[in-house]
């Protein structure tokens, strides 16, 4: 049984954030609907078929895309496949430990994966090489470099950006020239946390550490919902959930613009 790690935050910090929250203030001075600065850099890794480094405030993640030839799933013999992994390496935070992915990392990878998969961002039906025999497998690897909160949005954004300009490595396999990976319109993920009945977007580490509940929604270009995940040990009211989605629809439009630049 994986024991969820006991998160220790000093009582002083907790009280300080609680006091601020009552006045509708956040520890770093942002408003409840304000993201930290977002920065996207693409093609930062030469060996990868696609890559992107994303910063949201001090949080920094790197997504790398690799394609390999593999067998299709028996129930979709003419479709490629995708696989998403996340590593929380000790490099990125004093709390991260080496070893195989723990529940936190697995949840993170699976939520990012669902957003991409359900919005049909990668055109898997165009990744068949030989029906029933050979298809492209797209590996999305999320590598956290600096952890200051909101990995869900940072990783989702990095994965989307990395896929956007990724190539199919035909040359390496002697299949002819490389070509762009066929993609449609990326999902955009928006994450909120709730503490002291205060719900804020894009939590930083301090906020995550005292948060009672977390909510992530992945939206497509029409603002439709493609994936959602409520996390942590508290609860949301129905209205809070609905409100989060409406707020996310506004944020997602802005973030989508960064992706399309």
């Amino acid at each position: 049984m994986d024991i969820p790690e006991v998160k220790r935050v000093s009582a002083v910090k907790r009280d300080h954030l609680a006091r601020l929250a009552k006045e509708g203030k956040r520890p770093d001075g942002r408003g409840p609907d304000e993201y930290r600065p977002i920065k996207i850099e693409r093609n930062v890794i030469k060996k990868a078929e696609g890559s992107a480094r994303v910063k949201i405030g001090n949080t920094m993640v790197l997504a790398g895309i690799k394609l390999e030839v593999g067998e299709p799933y028996p129930d979709s013999p003419e479709e490629g496949a995708m696989s998403t992994s996340a590593e929380l390496p000790p490099l990125a935070s004093p709390e991260f430990e080496p070893g195989p992915p723990k529940p936190d990392a697995i949840e993170l990878a699976r939520v990012v994966d669902r957003g991409i998969r359900e919005s049909k961002y990668i055109q898997l039906d165009k990744l068949c090489i030989e029906p029933g025999e050979k298809v492209w497998i797209v590996f999305i690897d999320l590598h956290i470099l600096d952890y200051d909160g909101n990995l869900f949005d940072a990783c989702s954004l990095a994965a989307s950006a990395a896929l956007q300009k990724a190539v199919i490595p035909n040359e390496r396999y002697g299949f002819g020239d490389n070509e762009p990976l066929p993609v449609t319109s990326p999902p955009v993920s928006c994450t909120f946390v709730k503490y002291e009945n205060f719900i804020v977007v894009d939590p930083n580490l301090d906020e995550e550490q005292i948060a009672q509940a977390r909510f992530t929604v992945a939206l497509d270009k029409n603002g439709d919902i493609r994936a959602m995940q409520k996390g942590l040990k508290g609860s949301f009211t129905i209205d809070e959930i609905k409100n989060n989605i409406k707020r996310a629809q506004i944020h997602a439009q802005k973030i989508r613009k960064l992706l399309e630049e």
């Binding site: 936190d104 697995i106 994936a227 409520k230």
Partner: protein, 235 residues
């Protein structure tokens, strides 16, 4: 074609649950237990604790740790599943632990764990909701103090229609699945996941339907607990 003239392939109406059978207190060794059948799902849940958390360094001096472990028996699915946790079950264990901890008065039991074991013995779509529902009954059977009896149910979209409690085929062929767990008294959302495609309007409709489903299921949970109590009285 998953729905025709408002009737689903298994004969259900859009807002109709599959048959559910719940029995509390079925195991001898566990502190609390529940056997649940929900459509083709068969779930056994057991609760142990509160008991001292070991090794000691994992203890939380302020409250109990809630550890839910969702596991599928290797024979519970079409293709034999290799024993042991995979990524999917690890995620479900995590969100289930969190959903259940929401309602438990954990601060009453510092330095302990409350272990919730959910074994899926036969699987047919909706196992995570069935597991949470069974676990809730097992927790109550174990006498763990909770501020409400949690319950879970999914809604989804098939052929463009919002329906309750997807069957296996509907889950595979349908357009969206929205599993929800609530504390029914004041309709707090303890667990919510979704994958597929829903407009905001459809989501509102689906959430409402899922909550309606939860409220039907909670009646069956209460009846199961009452039945066990009655059985004891008769004995």
């Amino acid at each position: 074609m998953l729905i025709k003239d408002g009737i689903r392939m298994d004969g259900r109406k859009p807002d109709e649950l599959r048959p559910i059978k719940i029995e509390a207190g079925v195991l001898y060794r566990a502190d609390g237990s529940c056997y649940l059948e929900w459509g083709g799902n068969k779930i056994m849940a057991a609760v142990y604790g509160p008991r001292e958390a070991l090794p000691r360094h994992i203890q939380d001096p302020t409250k109990a740790i809630v550890n839910a472990r969702y596991n599928m028996a290797s024979f519970s699915v079409e293709e034999r599943k290799r024993p042991g946790p995979d990524r999917r079950s690890t995620e479900i264990s995590k969100v289930t632990s969190e959903a259940l901890e929401s309602v438990i008065f954990t601060e009453l039991f510092p330095r302990t764990t409350i272990d919730v074991c959910i074994e899926v013995l036969d699987a047919e779509a909706g196992t995570r909701c069935a597991g949470i529902t069974a676990a809730a009954v097992a927790l109550a059977d174990a006498g763990i103090p909770m501020r409400d009896l949690p319950v879970a149910c999914a809604a989804g979209k098939i052929d463009g229609t919002i329906v309750l409690d997807l069957s296996s085929e509907e889950d595979k062929e349908g357009e969206a699945d929205l599993p929800v767990a609530i504390a029914p008294r004041n309709e707090e959302i303890l667990l919510l996941q979704m994958d597929g495609h829903l407009t905001y309007k459809e989501f509102e409709e689906a959430l409402e339907l899922a909550i309606k489903g939860c409220k039907e299921v909670v009646k069956l949970q209460r009846k199961a607990l009452l039945n066990k109590y009655k059985t004891f009285e008769v004995e």
